[in-house]
Structures are given as C-alpha cells and as structure tokens.
C-alpha cells in the first residue's frame, strides 16, 4: 500500500497512472463508446464503402475513415481492448515462464543452472521483432499466433532477473533457517524466496507492457500480425502509410489517418513507462535518496 501512495505522490507516476485508468475505462466501455456493427464480431472494424481515399472527420466518423473506409474512431476504441489483451497475456505468461525457469536454475544451481542459462542465452540471441516476425509468418497470421511468438521470445529477461535475485537470497539467514527447520524446496521457493525477489520482475513487467504493444503493432504494421480489418492500432497506422504526404498544395490533407492512431499507441506506452519508471525509483533501494 505504501508503494501505491508513493506512486501517487510521484508526479510522473501519477500522470502515468491517470492515463492507464483512462485506457482501462475506454477498454471496459468499448461497447458503449463504439457499439459494434456485428454483435459476435466486435473486433471487426465497420467500413463505410470501399474507396481507398480516406475521409476527414465527420459526425458519423468522429476521427475520419482510413484507407478502405475503416472507421478510425471505432478501430481506436476496440484497439484499446486488443492492446490490453495482448500486453497482459504476453507479459503475464512470459513472466511466469521466466520466473519458473530462473527460479529453478538459481535454486538448484550446478549443471541444471548451466543448461537452463545457456538455453536462455540462445533465445536471447534473436532480436525480438525479427524473431517474432519469422515465427508469426510460419505459424500464420492472427492475434493468437502473435501472442505465442511474443511469449516464446519474451521470457528470457525475467529468467535472468529472477535468477540473479534468488542467487543472492539463497544464502540469506532466514532462508537458511527455514531450510534448517526442514521446509520443502517448493515451500522455500514459493514462500520465502519469491516474495522477496519478485519486485524487479514486477518493474520489468510494467516496463515491457508498452514494448509488447509496440512489437505487436509493428507486426501488424508489417502485415504479419492481426488479420485485415481487425481493430488494432498497428493496423490502423499501416493504413496511414500511403496517405501521410497529403495532396499537392495541402500537405495536411490526411493528417487524421496518422495522428490519432499515433497518439493512442504512444500514450499507452508512455503511461506504462512512466508508471514503471516511478515504480523502479520507489522499489530500488539503491536509488533512494536521489529524489
């Protein structure tokens, strides 16, 4: 609780938190803010015709329409839900995998540690976006496969982080005491070590919420992510690609196709980074007193 209060007292943390609450509300209220055209397919962006030229904001389309007459407002609202789903699922699952591997490696040590960490090294050798791009191409287009690819390439950081912490905690007296009483390995790990080693992972998790959304959107932008017409910020930005130059004599003709989706995705990442930054300052004892 004190962490939370400190977070609110940190001005940048407060801005980040407020923005996050805004995105949560938009995500929850999506059916009210933008009633779906097809009840069982709410993530399909409604189209107003098939002309490729975007149309400026109007009463029916508050943010205008993108290439192919996709409604930008609708795409942004439901895209918020997509962003939440992707980032939460990917971060939680990859953190879970990373924590499991890192804890086991540090707890048992020796040859098992060596093997697990070399495997981590190998996975680490692949650039996140390029690896995810190849994996999604092979698995096939679609949000589920995007998430699988991001998890497969996203757990290593957590594993290394938790391993380093557990290695330190393993030798601390209270853990030795619990071991002497005869606590089982599982109990030692779950009850005594993890609760004290988890905070850096939490900070890492909040910091990567934004970058996960960026990578998922980048995949859509490259045309290997979400299916066509799916409410996804990256996809909306990829529709903007051919229209950023505007018309001769009026360079701002199609400003809305690029500005609105850019703001949405940048603010989402910014808010997570602000919260993550503030959390790190609060939780990292080495930085205490620098504020």
């Amino acid at each position: 609780m004190t962490t939370f209060i400190k977070l609110i007292k940190n001005p940048l943390g407060l801005i980040g938190l407020t923005l996050l609450i805004f995105f949560i509300v938009v995500g929850i209220l999506a059916p009210v803010l933008a009633p779906p055209a097809w009840q069982n397919e709410p993530y399909r962006i409604p189209r107003d015709g098939y002309s490729s030229t975007p149309k400026p904001p109007s009463p029916e389309h508050p943010f205008g329409t993108a290439e192919g007459q996709y409604d930008i407002y609708y795409g942004l609202i439901w895209g918020t839900r997509t962003a939440w789903t992707v980032s939460l699922v990917v971060v939680v699952l990859s953190a879970f995998i990373g924590i499991t591997i890192g804890t086991i490696a540090a707890f048992y040590g020796g040859i098992l540690d060596e093997i697990l960490m070399r495997i981590t090294d190998i996975f680490y050798a692949f650039p996140f976006l390029v690896g995810a791009m190849v994996l999604t191409t092979i698995l096939g287009r679609g949000l589920g496969n995007v998430m699988i690819a991001l998890i497969a390439l996203g757990w290593m950081g957590y594993a290394r982080l938790i391993r380093a912490d557990i290695l330190q905690i393993r030798e601390v007296e209270y853990v030795q005491a619990a071991r002497a009483i005869g606590a089982s390995s599982l109990r030692l790990m779950l009850r005594h070590m993890l609760p004290n080693a988890i905070w850096p992972v939490v900070v890492q998790g909040t910091m990567s919420m934004g970058s996960i959304v960026i990578t998922a959107a980048a995949l859509s932008f490259l045309g290997v992510g979400a299916p066509l017409g799916y409410a996804d910020w990256g996809q909306l930005i990829s529709y903007a690609r051919n229209w950023i130059l505007g018309l001769h004599g009026n360079p701002l003709a199609y400003w809305y196709v690029i500005i609105y989706p850019s703001i949405a995705i940048t603010l989402f990442c910014l808010s997570w980074n602000l919260v993550g930054d503030a959390l790190r300052d609060i939780l990292d004892p080495r930085l205490r007193g620098t504020q």
């Binding site: 050798a125 692949f126 190849v134 191409t137 698995l139 960026i214 980048a218 701002l252 995705i265 930085l287």
Partner: protein, 343 residues
C-alpha cells in the same frame, strides 16, 4: 583475463550451435513441401519436377537428426536456398543488401558512441536542472514512441510539410551518378564511396537522405543509453570515494571524468549487446518506411510473401551476429571491471 576470454570463446560454438538448432526447430513446424523451398537454390529446379522426388532427394522425410546434419552442411557451405522476394540466392541477397544496412547502422552508431555517454552523464551531473529535465523527457518519449510511428511522423513533418528530407536512398540526379561508370563502387556504402570518389554532391545528397532514417533508427538506442548512463552516473556520484575525491580538493572536472564516469560506464557497456538487437529490429521498420533497399526491408518483404529461406537465413545471421556482439561486450566488461574476471 586470458583464461576468461578462452572460457567465453569455448562457450561460443555451443551458443551458435544452439541458434542453429533453434532455427531448425522452427523449420520443423513446416510441412516437407514448404521446407523444400529452403533447400532449392534456384526456382528453375522446381519447374516440371515431381515434388515427391525432390523431397526424396533432399531427404525431407528422413529422420530428424539426419535432416539436421544435412541442413547443417548446407549452412557451412553457405547455401541457404533461393530468396523469391530478392530474386537471387539468399547468400547473394546478403551481399547485395548488407552495405545499405551497414551505412544506416554506422551513421546511427557513431553519434551514439560519441555523444550518448557524454550527454547521459552530463544529465546526472546537472541533476534536476533544466538540461536534466529535457534529457529525461526526451528519453522517456523516445522510449515510448514506436519506431514506425516515429518514422511516419518524421516523413509527415519533414517531407510532407517542410519538404526537407525525402525518403529513398538518393535523389534522381545523385542516383544517376552512382550508377554511371564515373562513380567507382568500392564498398557499396554510398557516403564512403562518395568520399573515396571525391564526389561531394553525392555525399551531401546521401547524407540528406540519411538524416531522418538514422534519427528514427537510433531513437530507441539513444533513449536507453541516456537513461542507463544517467542512472548509473547518479548512483556513482553518491559513492563515498567520489566525496573523498572532492574532499581532498580535486577539481570537479577531474572528479567527474577520472573518478565517477569510469565506474559509471560499467553498466553502460552491458547494454551495447542489446543495442545491436535494437538495431536489427529497427532496420526492418526504418528501411520499410524510408524505402532503403537493405537487409531489413528484404526481411519485411520476405515475411509478407512467405519467403522462408530469406527469413530463416536472416534470423540465423542476426542470431550469430548478436552472439558475437555479446562476446565482445563480455570481454570489454571484464576489461573495465576487474571484479568480473576474478569472480
């Protein structure tokens, strides 16, 4: 020190082999028919031929260990298959696209190495002064702005509205000069070739086309470098030995340069490996947006057209290069921080 380097070098082949195994495992997700494309170095081979015969010939239904051994030999011979999206063998595509990406990477890395550490530590020295605030805002915005958004907004502003920095690698005139016989191509890196040819018109034109993509490509790395250097420098400045140095009357400049920054550099070196990975990620997006015909754009097109040999080749290339980058980082790390090699 030497034993440390030797120990790290011994692990290297294991990790490289691991990368190869991983890419091979990804390949196993495909049907033998799809994998066939990874083995053929020429599309003509696939015409009027029974696929079953080819699958038999390349042993794609063999047991997995045998397939792996075969594929491994192919890699050692530099045969990575035919890239449809580049209309040439994968190895040839690497040769052709490499200089373009190398040019972007070099121009991105140069200012980063020269200015990043300096600005980051300056931000810590001027803690909570206006400069520090500007740096922090720049860093966190740069970190939050996706590369493709930065690229498109950059084009929107600096090409669409202001008309300063056009996309593409060269303007029409300069590109005509580069293709002509007067202009000798030594490296394929245009700015370097321009200097070697003593052709300043081409150099200036290439530079004009490079500014925006280089900025977009290195934005994330700048943000990270500034943050890490600043945090590390802040921590170092609070150490007792820095206070001691000040107390014994050393000039502030000497304290910062000789005492603090040296130690603050240690964590900064570790992110150098990550920066290489960022670079590969960024190249895919930046080259696609700015229409640079380099490795990244090739990989992006390969993903869109299901050009598997190209994708697997690129992934392997990335993996091996990053493993080497990390090796260099580790050695540098041991060189700077004696605690590492003793530990």
């Amino acid at each position: 020190m030497l034993t440390y380097i030797i120990r790290r070098l011994l692990v290297l082949p294991i990790v490289v082999l691991g990368c190869i195994v991983l890419v091979f495992s990804v390949m196993q997700l495909l049907t033998p028919y799809q994998r066939l494309s990874v083995y053929c170095s020429n599309p003509a081979e696939l015409k009027n031929v029974d696929f079953e015969i080819l699958i038999e010939r390349y042993g794609l239904n063999d047991p997995i260990y045998k397939q792996f051994a075969d594929w491994f030999m192919e890699i050692l011979r530099g045969e990575l298959g035919w890239s449809e999206s580049a209309s040439r063998p994968v190895s040839g595509a690497f040769k052709r696209f490499m200089p373009v990406s190398a040019e972007l990477a070099l121009w991105s890395a140069l200012p980063l190495v020269l200015g990043g550490v300096w600005l980051g530590s300056l931000s810590a020295v001027k803690h909570n002064k206006p400069l520090d605030h500007i740096m922090r805002i720049f860093a966190i915005t740069g970190w939050s702005l996706p590369t493709f958004v930065a690229g498109l907004l950059g084009l929107f502003l600096f090409y669409g509205i202001l008309g300063w920095f056009p996309p593409g690698q060269l303007g029409l005139e300069a590109s005509a000069i580069v293709r002509s016989s007067v202009f000798a191509s030594y490296t394929g890196i245009i700015t370097l070739d321009a200097v070697l040819n003593w052709n300043w018109f081409v150099f200036a034109d290439a530079l004009r086309h490079l500014i925006l993509p280089v900025f977009v490509l290195s934005l994330v790395s700048w943000a990270m470098l500034l943050r890490v250097t600043r945090a590390s420098m802040l921590e170092t400045l609070r150490q007792d030995y820095v206070t001691t140095a000040r107390a014994k009357g050393l000039e502030e400049r000497v304290v910062i340069k000789k005492h603090a920054r040296r130690n603050a550099l240690i964590p900064v070196v570790t992110i150098a490996g990550v920066t290489v990975a960022f670079l590969f990620n960024g190249l895919v997006i930046t080259e696609t947006i700015f229409d640079f015909h380099g490795l990244g754009r090739w990989a992006a097109r390969a993903a869109q057209t299901f050009d598997l040999p190209a994708l697997l080749g690129y992934l392997l290339f990335n993996g091996v290069l990053i493993v080497f980058a990390n090796l260099i980082v580790d050695i540098m790390y041991a060189y700077i921080d004696p605690r590492v090699r003793l530990g």
